[in-house]
């Protein structure tokens, strides 16, 4: 069974953390992953940096730019991750935009992910239809779960469709925004969380975008399986360094 599915069976609210590979230093990748796991994080999204991340806000734009300046490439990331499964047990997901993956070759990319022990992919600019018609077969051949997004604007009909074709979890974007633009959740989000909960989807939901502290984590996971933190973690990493990762994680889940 894929590690993501196994993790989703645990009887707890899951904390997933996103970071940009190659930031703050080119070679930070492995130590960030290891300290996240040691701090009690349930799942990790490894960001493959892209020059034009159009679904991301300023924080992740900047970490991506910095990572590319540091020299991060797809090849280097795969090389850094080649022995990651010797120690790390939690699910690992690569999050990135489609163009760098296309240039690597989709089949090669998926094959490499499988060899390393990557469990899933989140590709914001690969639409559902395009995935289903052209790439699903390849992803499944290498046992990679493709994670789909829903937003407050997604129609009920489309949510049921996405639920039907999803394996793993549904990525619930908390609000109509790019990453990192929210610090509290208001009534609009609460209603949205409640509306989705009432749909009784077969696929567990994990909330992302705008979660920054234990209060927003609790709000986001009240009716869902877990939450993903990206921008707030990158800010913390930028200010406090890798040594203080544990502090950040315990501030969220203790």
């Amino acid at each position: 069974m894929n590690r993501i599915n196994k993790k989703l069976q645990e009887d707890k609210k899951l904390l997933s953390i996103y970071f940009t590979a190659g930031f703050p230093q080119l070679n930070s990748t492995v130590s960030i992953i290891e300290s996240l796991e040691n701090s009690g994080v349930d799942m990790i999204e490894i960001g493959l940096p892209f020059s034009d991340p159009l679904a991301d806000g300023p924080t992740i734009q900047e970490s991506s730019t910095k990572a590319l300046e540091n020299g991060m490439t797809t090849e280097i990331l795969f090389d850094q991750l080649k022995d990651i499964r010797k120690n790390v047990k939690i699910p690992l997901i690569i999050m990135g935009y489609f163009n760098p993956m296309m240039q690597y070759g989709i089949e090669n990319f998926c094959k490499k992910c499988k060899e390393i022990g990557i469990d899933g992919l989140i590709i914001p600019d690969l639409p559902v239809k395009e995935y289903s018609e052209n790439y699903k077969v390849i992803f499944e051949k290498y046992d990679l779960i493709n994670i789909f997004l829903i937003t407050p604007q997604t129609s009920q009909e489309r949510i049921y469709f996405i639920d039907k074709i999803s394996r793993g979890f549904v990525y619930m974007v908390s609000s109509a925004s790019v990453t990192g633009s929210q610090n509290t959740f208001g009534t609009v989000q609460k209603e949205y969380f409640e509306r989705i909960a009432a749909m009784n989807l077969k696929t567990p939901q994990i909330v992302g975008f705008g979660i920054s502290n234990s209060a927003t984590f609790k709000q986001a996971t009240d009716k869902t399986k877990g939450a993903i933190i990206g921008s707030a973690f990158i800010k913390h990493l930028n200010q406090n360094g890798i040594a203080k990762i544990n502090e950040f994680v315990t501030s969220i889940i203790d």
């Binding site: 892209f50 730019t65 760098p100 993956m101 395009e130 997004l149 997604t154 489309r158 109509a176």
Partner: protein, 393 residues
Amino acid sequence: MSYFVDENGYYGKFGGAFIPEMLYPNVEELRVNYLKIMESDSFQKEFKSLLKDYVGRPTPLYFAKRLSDKYNTKIYLKREDLCHTGAHKVNNTIGQILMAKRLGKKRIIAETGAGQHGVATATVCALMGMECIVYMGEIDIARQAPNVARMKMLGATVIPALSGSKTLKDATNEAIRDWINNPVDTHYIIGSVVGPHPYPDMVARFQSIISEEIKKQLTEKEGKENPDYVIACVGGGSNAAGAFYHYLAEENVGLIAVEAAGLGIDSGESAATSVLGNEGIIHGSKTLLMQTKDGQITEPYSISAGLDYPGVGPLHAHLSESKRAEFISVTDDEAMKAGIELCEFEGIIPAIESSHALAVFNTKKFKKTDVVVLNLSGRGDKDLNTYINYFKL
């Protein structure tokens, strides 16, 4: 072979809508409605009437006698430079603002590089009394100050794009992010035949008025609808799409697309996408773009801000791959020389984008009997500073 968009939004293997789920409702709303709206009588009536009385269409098809004598062929200039606001861009913004109104949108966003599309958008927003926000790279704001002032005079808010390389591609990213953040009341007026389906098709249809008029005008002047060649410059490709549109299926009409070679194809400072680019995804479209082998989008260079884009629209990628159009690239120097030549021979100061198209007469030989229509996409007022600096005027 078809050169028009198919029902999935593709031109051959190029096109599609590679957009985040957050944009799906907006783009889908547009996809489902755009043809129905555009083809309705009330839309056509309002569109045609604004093009006539506000933009000043039809623009003349002018026989350039002295230039023709010099190059020993028959050259006609399609005078898009005489459009209100100074370029073909306004054909599209008029169409899209009418589309936005019918979709019930209240707020307009746009990206701009040189500022021509920004000005054309600010203009139609003033005309319709709609809020207008234009994203423009911080570097472009500094080098295109007069157009920034024009946008402000027209009531638009100009927001600097501070991310990435701070030019057109980043302004486009910022506009897309704005649309993600404002999914309900906002329409994004894209300035060229780029972006996710249905934008390339919609913008090409709005610009197709150019070749619709050429057909009529050429019939009056030459007794036939079809020239031997149509020449146009390509940044994203909207003026070329408009000038080619009604000739796409007429294989006896040669289509010549002119890209900016900048300092030279191999100089590392170029925007000749059909030569230097390969298949990938930019701004929601699968097309040819300039990128590293790792898939990071690279910065183009051209003396002409309007051609300074690292991709081309998917229609042009298809025209290039299928060889339906001949792609020629022209350096800064060749374009500047051709621009001055038009001033001296015909008394017309062209936009530097259009000067690239004009430079083709120095690299390609036409027959004496050939009828060649060149789309003069814009006038050179906006480029005076560049002309002054280049020629030390």
